[in-house]
């Protein structure tokens, strides 16, 4: 097995957004490409509509299932405020890809909780890193054919960063293995839209 540099990916969102599925697709692709992979998430009670957080750590020499604080290379936030919840994993060099579409918890409607504006979220993230890419993954998923595919759009963005040691071909093969027929086609489109959006952002913007 070739030695691969350590790459720590954190995917966060809320229960029901398909975060766990994303980490499964990622891990299966890693194994296919013969890249060592470790990770962890929290399942069960914490999952019911609550915050979901999944670690995927790629590369040789990784042992622990949890990314150390300040050591996340790419943070993929399927829900914007959840990026903030994981801010302590970021470093100056981290790249953040953020779905701008929020999911407000019912506590906000009850008047028991506030919810930050996108500007506030970006402001805090920028205190740690300048490298933040924002996109409307839900809109792109709709364009691909289903709102349900917002998580796959975000998976596409992760590959779009160019940081992944896993090939895009493998990522897509795993995706097609999981989803057949029309759903499979929608998901491939969703993946491509996410991928292209980040490529565009990286080319046009000062995101190094």
């Amino acid at each position: 097995m070739a030695k691969t540099k350590e790459l720590n990916v954190i995917i966060c969102g809320v229960g029901g957004q398909g975060v766990v599925l994303m980490s499964e697709l990622l891990g299966n692709a890693a194994v296919r490409d013969d890249i060592e992979v470790k990770g962890s998430e929290v399942l069960g009670m914490a999952q019911r509509g609550g915050s979901v957080f999944s670690n995927i750590r790629l590369g040789s020499g990784v042992y622990a299932p949890l990314t150390p604080e300040g050591k996340c290379d790419v943070l993929v936030a399927v829900e914007p405020s959840e990026a903030l919840r994981n801010v302590h994993f970021l470093a100056k060099s981290s790249l953040v890809v953020l779905n701008s579409r929020d999911v407000k918890p019912f506590t906000v409607f009850l008047g028991k909780s506030g919810y930050p504006s996108l500007e506030e979220i970006l402001d805090k993230l920028h205190r740690v890193t300048d490298r933040v890419i924002t996109l409307d993954a839900t809109q792109l998923a709709q364009e691909a054919g289903s709102v349900q595919s917002a998580n796959v759009v975000m998976l596409g963005t992760l590959y779009g960063t160019g940081l992944m040691p896993i090939t895009v071909e493998t990522a897509k093969a795993v995706l097609q293995g999981r989803f057949k027929g029309k759903v499979g086609e929608i998901n491939i489109r969703a993946f491509d839209l996410g991928y292209e959006e980040v490529q565009k952002a990286l080319k046009g913007a000062p995101v190094k």
């Binding site: 809320v14 229960g15 499964e24 891990g27 299966n28 890693a30 194994v31 296919r32 490409d33 992979v37 470790k38 990770g39 962890s40 998430e41 929290v42 399942l43 069960g44 009670m45 914490a46 999952q47 019911r48 509509g49 609550g50 915050s51 995927i56 020499g61 990784v62 042992y63 622990a64 299932p65 949890l66 150390p68 604080e69 300040g70 050591k71 405020s81 903030l84 919840r85 801010v87 302590h88 407000k104 918890p105 019912f106 506590t107 906000v108 409607f109 009850l110 028991k112 909780s113 506030g114 930050p116 506030e120 979220i121 805090k124 205190r127 709102v147 071909e169 493998t170 093969a173 293995g177």
Partner: protein
């Protein structure tokens, strides 16, 4: 690119790699070990082990059952071992409390077929009422413990646990934790032991009948077996000692903490400057290795999650060997919650002066700054969950009682999805302890307080441990209302079957039949989505003198939607008529359903989330919530 599409958890493909959840790796270990009997009761973080094995039981020729509770699961596994088969029981840490009675004597009996208990502990209390460290239970029961540090090791250790169990004719424990059971990793598969044994019972009163006359001898034999195991653990590959010449600090790391320790050491460039002992068997401890480490360094740090289980033993080893050095552990490593690389790095930094490459203080500052911005996002009952309707009905009935008599009812909850009713706006939980406690505590309260007591628990919990306290309520004529929230599944842990909701065509045991057979005179079954009838039944139950049982029956919303999709039945959501809705928010303030959204005082229903239970339509004072999607949008 290697073709892996065909590879599954049952593939006999030694050397091949599969991406697995920790619990799947443990299940794979059971398959490789040739386990023939698996018994379990679901509980996070253990459930996926038996979910996996139940799903491949037919294919692998294994007998896998969801038992009614952990005690029975343990007994089923013990019976299989006694009959010569390799058997495993799997449960969460507090489940082991339920199995504690047979477990405590399992060591006395020894094992014929390999016998392994998997205990999945929950440091961090992600899904549990406590943070108990089951290595202590193992020690009390003379059960050797294997504690994996990685997903790969979890699989390998389970296979070895069976080998050792048969070699020493003794029960073993594999102790997992949430962060391992729910870790994911590439795993190299091993060969599958395909041996199939016939179960055969051989009379052996001296080992199998645990009456005093026999059991005193069994205890002596157990102690002898354990001494042999103690001698053997130093040679197990899971215990590894790496001595560095001139190292002042020796670190002992156990189980999942080993990964954090290894990375913390690398983090700070101390690979050649500290000695490291990896512990895979916290009980019995590889004492020879511990002595070697203790006599080569001037200071020791023990890194382990939760209690100072290894630390205390290391201190005894040092004392016995007359080695006087400082042994650190819980003085610098947190005792509560999960560990991660950071606290380990900070502890090592404090002892060596080496600096971690990350400025943690700066991270803390940013975290503190962001904290007030974070929305409060507790886990919540799903949209359309029948428990929301049942708990709301209990609230209404109790409020009416209070209006009439002035006393506030006490609500006792239990372990399951409905425990989420503790949060705003339902606030339907005044006390909750353990499985079955919803009825047991309620029955006890009813004997000592004047206010009405309403206990509730789920259908799976009822069969698990709700029946004895219900009988107790009848036996002592407790004036208590016992509500069974029957959603026809074990919801929280992922829809496992139980006696009231079997997976196949096994006979269904109905909770109302059990209640009547146990002598409960007031037994009513209602549909919680019929709010008026449910509140009425509850009000009468609360007024009833003596134990009253109300069963609110409606299938779990997730299962019902799944079933509808399978049958091609349309799911019809509700919508809000903006003409009638004045934005009063009663629906939100009473129910807190995640499908109801409020933007600038405009209330709408997210049709992608709403499964159409209609509960909100029943509470709306303006009759503004209507079935169907509005104009095809909304």
């Amino acid at each position: 690119m290697k073709e892996l599409a065909e590879l599954t958890i049952t593939s006999d493909a030694p050397g091949a790699k599969l991406f697995m959840l920790g619990n799947e790796a443990i299940a794979r270990g059971a398959i490789e070990a040739g386990v023939q009997v698996v018994a379990a009761y679901p509980g996070t973080p253990s459930s996926e082990i038996t979910n996996t094995l139940v799903s491949v039981a037919k294919e692998t020729g294994m007998y896998a059952e969801w038992s009614v509770n952990e005690k029975v699961a343990m007994e089923v596994a013990m019976a299989a071992s006694v009959s010569g088969l390799r058997a495993m029981a799997a449960m969460k840490h507090v489940g082991v409390n339920v199995a504690h009675d047979p477990l405590t004597t399992a060591g006395y009996m020894g094992a014929r077929g390999g016998l392994v208990l998997v205990s999945a502990d929950d440091p961090g209390q992600w899904s549990s009422q406590n943070e108990q460290d089951n290595r202590y239970i193992a020690r009390q029961c003379y059960i050797p413990v294997l504690e994996p540090s990685s997903v790969q090791e979890a699989k390998d250790m389970l296979v070895d646990a069976f080998r050792l169990s048969e070699e020493f004719k003794h029960i073993f424990m594999l102790r997992s934790v949430t962060r391992l059971s729910h870790a994911r990793s590439d795993v190299v598969l091993g060969a599958i032991n395909k041996e199939k044994r016939e179960g055969e019972f051989v009379k052996d009163l001296h080992s199998l009948v645990c009456l005093p006359a026999y059991s005193r001898g069994s205890r002596r034999r157990m102690i002898e077996r354990f001494a042999k195991i103690k001698g053997a653990v130093n040679d197990l590959p899971y215990n590894q000692l790496k001595l560095n010449k001139g190292a002042k600090l020796g670190i002992i790391a156990c189980g999942i903490s080993y990964g954090y320790t290894l990375e913390a050491i690398r983090y700070m460039g101390l690979e050649d400057k500290v000695s490291l002992l990896k512990i895979g068997t916290p009980y019995p401890l590889p004492e020879e290795m511990v002595r070697q480490l203790l006599s080569s360094v001037s200071e020791v740090l023990v890194v382990e999650e939760l209690e100072p289980f290894v630390e205390d033993q290391v201190k005894i080893v040092a004392e016995d060997a007359g080695i006087i050095i400082k042994i650190h552990g819980k003085d610098v490593i947190p005792i509560a919650g999960e560990l991660s690389t950071r606290p380990v790095a900070e502890a090592i930094s404090g002892l060596t002066g080496a600096q971690p490459p990350v400025n943690f203080a700066e991270l803390d500052r940013i975290r503190e700054e962001t904290e007030p911005l974070l929305p409060f996002r507790p886990p919540t009952l799903c949209a359309g969950c029948p428990h929301r309707a049942s708990l709301h009905a209990i609230n209404v009935a109790c409020r009416r009682w209070k209006r009439e008599y002035g006393t506030e009812c006490v609500l006792v909850s239990d372990i399951g999805c409905y425990a989420l009713g503790v949060f705003e706006p339902l606030n339907a939980d005044d006390i909750a302890v353990c499985m079955g406690g919803g009825f047991g505590i309620a029955t006890g309260l009813a004997q000592v307080i004047k206010a009405p007591v309403v206990g509730h628990l789920g259908d799976s919990t009822f069969f698990h441990s709700g029946i004895p306290p219900m009988i107790n309520a009848v036996f002592h004529q407790a004036n208590v209302t016992l509500v069974i929230l029957d959603n026809s599944t074990t919801g929280m842990t992922g829809f496992q079957p139980h006696p009231g909701a079997p997976a196949g065509d096994e006979p269904k045991i109905m909770p109302e039949d059990v209640a009547r057979a146990c002598g409960v005179k007031f037994v009513e079954v209602v549909d919680p989505f019929d709010l008026t009838k449910t509140v009425d039944a509850l009000e009468r139950a609360i007024r009833y003198k003596g134990p009253a049982v109300v069963i609110t029956r409606r299938m779990c919303s997730i299962l019902e939607q799944r079933e509808k999709r399978r049958q091609g039945v349309a799911i019809v959501p509700y919508h809000v008529d903006p003409e009638k809705c004045d934005g009063c928010g009663v629906c939100i303030n009473l129910l807190g359903c995640p499908a109801i959204i409020k933007d600038d005082d405009r209330v709408t229903i997210d049709s992608s989330q709403c499964p159409g239970c209609g509960l909100c339509a029943q509470v709306c004072p303006h009759k503004a919530i209507i079935s169907g999607v509005k104009d095809g949008k909304d």
